[in-house]
Structure formats: C-alpha cells, structure tokens
Homo-oligomer: 394 residues x 2
C-alpha cells in the first residue's frame, strides 16, 4: 500500500518532457523547490510546538503533491470532499478528516470508507446530524467518529464554545453510538487581516476558543481527544498552541497573492503560476493581450479587498522574476489583458506576440482547480521535470 | 461521421439514471426543455434576418449540447480553444472558427486540423501573425484562412474600422499566402448594459463598425466574404443586420443571472443550475449553509456590478421555483452561505439539514466549467434523463 504512495508519476527523461519555452499555453506550473520550502517551513514550525500538522489536500488535490508532504509514510490529512477522501484512500492514506458538514448522502458514503478500513472522521454541529450518522454507521456495521465544529470567529458554521448546544450534540453522539473525535475550528476571518498583531490575535483567539470548547465538553463528562485548529494565516502566526493537538492548513503549500497580501509569504514563495503567451498588443491603451483568461486563472479576485489589488494576477517573466506593477487588469474566458497597475511609474515591458509570461495567482486553490495537471519545474531550470495530475469532482 | 454526431450519450432507462432527490451534491443540472427553447429563440431570430448563426461552443463544451443545436447535420460553430476545435472535429464538425488571437504554437496546431480536412478559420490583428500563419501553412502544406479582428467598442483586442493597419494586415495575409476569411468583431461591452435602447444601440454600433471595416477592405481590393459579429446581448437586441453575414453567441443556450441583469432573459429561461444540500443552519444569523461553494458555483461575481447583486447565485426549490430574495451571500471552497438579500422583507424559508435546493448561476460559462458533466432534466420531472460529459483544457 505504501508502495503506491511512493510511486511517483514523474516523467523525468520521458518523451513528454519539455521546456517552458516549448510548453503549450495556458498551462499551470508548479515550482517543486518552492513547494518543498513551504512544506518545510510549516512542518518545522509545528514540530517545534509539538502540534500534529494535518495538511489540507483541497489545494493540491494531487497524490504527487501529497508525496512531497509525506515522503515515506502517509500521514494525517484533511479533505474537502468525499471524492478527495476516496482518492487519497486509494493511494494509501488511512487517517483522514473530512472537514465539511455532514449531509445524509455523505454520511452513507463516508461509512463505505470506514468499512474499507479508513479512519475517516466527519464534521457536524447538530444533534440531527449525530442521529443521521449513527443510523448510517449501524446500517454499515461500523462505528463512526465525528468532530463537533466550533465557530471561533463567526466566519461560517459551528457552535460557539459557550453554546449549551455543544453538550447537547455531544450527548446525541453518545446516544447514537458515534465516537466524539474532538472539536475542530477554522479561523476563516484571518484571511481578511494583514497586520501581524491582528494575525497573532486571531491565532490566539482560535486556540482559546478551541481549548474552551474542549474544556466544556470534558467538564460535561465527554472525552475530547483532538483539539484541531487551522488556517494558513493563523498556522504561521500562532505563538502559543498550548492545549491544541493539531493544526490544519492547505494553501501554505503553494501560497498565493492573497496570502502575500495577508503577510504570510513573499511573492518569491508562491509555488504555482500560469504560463501564458502574448496574442496581441494595444499600445495606444497600454495593453498586452495573453491567452490566459479566467478559464486558466479562475474568477477569484481575492486581492480586490486588500491594500494592493493584483487584478487577476501579477505578471512575471519566464524565469519567475516579477515585472513590477504589471498585472492582469481584465479577464474574459480565454483572454487576459495585462497593463501597468494604476498609478505606476514603471514602463510597460516590451512583450511581442509569442512572448511568454508567468502569472502568479490570487488564490492557489481556485487557480489550480482550473487545470488538469501541474507542469513541475525547479527554480533554476526551464525544463518540465514532471506532470502531476489533479483530481476533481465530488 | 454524422452518425457520430447524432449518437447521443443519453442514459435514459439505464441503471445510472436517478432522480433529483437521489443525486449526490453538488451537481450541475441542465434543463433540456429550457435549452431547446433558448436555442429556438435565437435561431428563429437569425433565420428571420437571413443571418447565419454560428453558435459559440465555449459555454456548453459538450457534443451532446451541440447535438441539440444541430439535430441532423453538424453546422458552423465557434470555439475558444484548439482543444474544443479538435473535440468537435472528432465529432464530425467541419466548419469551425477559433475566435482567440493566434500565437506561434496555436498556428502550428491549427494547421494539423486543416490537414485533417477541417475548415478551421483563425483570428489575428497584426502583420506578424499573418507572417507566422503563412509560414505554418507552408510548413504543413495547407492554405490557412484567417479573420481580421475588429475592435467595435474598445473591449479587448482588434483594430478599429478606420485604422490604416487594417489594410496593412490584409496585405500581409495576401503576401503570406493566407486567405482572408473576412472580419470578426465582438461587442463585449454590451455585457455591461441593461437599458433596452442602449442594447439596441450597441448592436447597431457592432454592425456598423463591422460593415465599415469590410467596406474598407473591399475598397482596398481585398475580398471580405464573411462579416461576423456577435455577443448574446447584441444578438437578441439587433434590429437591423444589413451587411452582416453571421452572428456568434454562446451563453444564450443556457442563459444566466448576468444575462437576466442585462435584460436578455428571465430567470425562468436559465437552463442550468447547481443542485446543493443543506449541511447546517445558523438561525441567529439568518444563514443556511449548503455544500455548494465556489468550487461548484465558480468565483464569478458578474452581478456585483449590476442593479441587482445576486451574490454567488439565486436559490430555487427542487422544482426550479425561485425563493424570492434568497441568494448565496458568501462562498468558500465547498461551503455556500444562503441568506435573504439585504433589505428583503421576505422570511427565510425553512430548509433543514438534508434539504435540497437549486442555485441559478451568475455566469453559465464559468459555473459549468467547474463540473465534469451535465445531469439532464426536463422542466416537469424529477428524473435525471441523461448525463452529458463536458470537455475541458486547452
């Protein structure tokens, strides 16, 4: 089973290998050196704090990316769909948290993974879901395990740490024969921050709420083994994680312009980019047209609300060097318009038809999802070293 | 070859057939009755004006959708990628316009389709592209054919009708051994309009500029057989198309909330929707959480700039009836938050965990692109009548 995890789909030295110059565009590039650097950074940080890192595979959606995270033995992971859970289970992963609220059809489907020997934990925040999960477990002849979702910042779902319903849900799980895995929270509001002190405070709040929720459950007689927190910003800004047992994060593997705007990374840390070709110029408007529109870049405009709006992406040369202030100002389905950022004093670079550029994405999860595969490169070479397929769907 | 076009991938009466209630979510639905009605509407409109309709396949990206457009013989189509051109050619289509500006790698690849007997026309607006295309044609032993792109409203690429470069490009094509197919323009700015008189004026302008460009070429001694215009709004608002030979449009097949905001369709005309399941509720915030986030809906916020902002989509019940004022107010990767539109006097409908809804998309092209296939339904039944795969990539 592990052999499957370790068998890469690298195409080094194969006929399909190519160079950046020869690659048809638009195409998604993944810089393996930057990926490895980003992985090391967070895993070292968590190891130093004695907290388990449970990477979120929703960003990469690729067994080959997962193999960079776990180079020998498959470890704990988080997923956003049951299709991801099934995909990673097929590749040998056994410790999986499905971090999206349970529905009747996902409860039944999740039980099939338990029957196959996967330690899949699900997420819920209501007694009804507990009853539903218990029934699904009994029908499948397995004992389900669930996290109760905690709301630490009003971002999305979950119960507050002081909500009496927390104890009601735990009791419903016990009654329904469902194991309480622990509590899980996500500081989603941290994506809207940028001041370091605010990020430290968001991480502190995420931890405090999580630990308080676990304490409330334990005080009511429920075991709460796992205290799971996480978001890429808080994972990098948390100073003290006492009481937390695991950290979840996903976009940290690739980083992106939104994370740059939050202050978690530099543009030089961003591991993915979209390779595009110039297909037209409009000198009178200061425009360069490329063949990467929103189909290749995604419609994500996550930097629009940040201090520096990066349009649909920041443009680099073929080596990955940023053209200062050159951004994708407009995108239609298969066209991107490059222009200097408003107010820039830089000159528009000369990029004739056929020239190639790399575009750093606003949001790595959204941009990568527009592509079938990663063209893997290293930081100091123009060779495509591997092609790593992505999975998709639900 | 035609047999291939007419052979559907319907799954009627097959084991895979299911009902809306039983379908795993999120899932893309396509209402075949609405699709057929939308197709009839524009084809009748163009037939009445004696203008060829060349549907744009970038929205549907499906041979099964194309088979509803052309129920007997494959006709003229427009595509946005060479992967689409190759896909539709494999399914018997022979008259294809690739309406994105030419690059060196696409020129070579396009020639392979010409070698295979496909009448593929490409798009350009510079002498350099003409020279590049001529060389690709000579290398492949075929005679390429190209449209000159005309800019009718400053939206994107192309030359204005009065730009002397228009004649320079035509001369470069002749010199390079490239056939001048005609001129092609796209009133992309019409997507930003909503007043009927402004839409009529945009259509009139698109036609006037196209006809003037063709006249300028003819006056300089160049044949300009095709005068191609198009956008879904102008296609539906054009009153007089004298001098125009063909109309291109794509999103008219499905329609969407952006087109509703422009005033081209009603919400009842929208043929695609995303089926989603309730996975949580936050009564204290007036929120209902569903399992369709931006991965299922896309990040498109095209209605944000319109008079009525529909968030990430307008919510309907399982039969397709709109819940007045219930929209997707926030989306993360696999979560959507439903809430009443700001200022609404309507009450939040009761939707418990497990309940299903249909979400009308802002932008059909972007939402459909997030999915592998269409679950085909009819307007008056809850049965999934067919599953139509979509193609993707470049």
């Amino acid at each position: 089973m592990l052999g499957k995890v370790l068998r890469g789909t690298d195409i080094e030295n194969s006929e399909a290998a190519a160079t950046l110059e020869a690659l048809a565009t638009p195409a998604l590039l993944l810089d393996r050196d930057r990926l490895d650097r980003n992985l090391d950074r967070l895993s070292s940080r968590m190891a130093a704090r004695g907290v388990v890192l449970r990477p979120h595979m929703k960003t990469g959606k690729s067994i080959d990316v997962a193999r960079r995270v776990y180079q020998s033995v498959p470890g704990p992971i988080t997923v956003s769909t049951l299709a991801e859970a099934e995909y990673f289970a097929q590749h040998g992963f056994r410790d999986i948290t499905y971090a999206v609220g349970l529905a009747p059809h996902t409860a039944d489907r999740a039980m099939r993974l338990l029957q196959a020997g996967v330690d899949l934990k699900v997420l819920l925040d209501s007694p009804e879901q507990g009853v539903m999960l218990g029934a699904a477990g009994r029908a499948a002849g397995v004992r389900p395990s669930a996290f109760i979702e905690i709301d630490c910042d009003g971002h999305r779902g979950g119960l507050t740490a002081t909500d009496p319903k927390l104890i009601t849900v735990a009791a419903a799980l016990a009654e329904a024969g469902v194991e309480l895995a622990g509590i899980l929270t996500h500081a989603g509001e941290s994506y809207g921050l940028s001041a370091p002190e605010a990020l430290v405070a968001a991480a502190e709040n995420e931890k405090t709420v999580a630990v308080a929720a676990a304490a409330a459950l334990r005080a009511a007689g429920h075991e709460c083994p796992v205290v799971s927190v996480g978001s890429t910003p808080t994972a990098h800004f948390a100073e003290d994680l006492a009481g937390v047992t695991e950290m979840r994060a996903g976009v940290y593997m690739f980083f992106d312009l939104v994370m740059h705007g939050v202050g978690v990374c530099t543009t030089d840390d961003i591991a993915i980019s979209v390779l595009a070709t110039v297909i037209g110029t409009k000198p009178e408007k200061g425009w360069i047209l490329v063949d990467a529109g929103w189909m290749a870049l995604s419609r994500d405009r996550g930097t629009a609300a940040q201090r520096v709006d990066q349009g649909y992406g920041l443009v680099c040369d073929l080596s990955g060097e940023v053209y200062r202030d050159l951004i994708v100002v407009q995108a239609s389905q298969e066209h991107g318009i490059l222009a200097m950022r408003s107010g820039s004093t830089q000159a528009l670079p000369h990029l004739p038809i056929g020239a190639k550029v790399r575009i750093l994405p606003n949001h790595a999860c959204a941009t990568a999802a527009q592509h079938e595969l990663y063209n893997v490169v290293s930081s100091d070479s123009a060779a495509i070293e591997a092609r790593w397929p992505r999975m998709r769907g639900w």
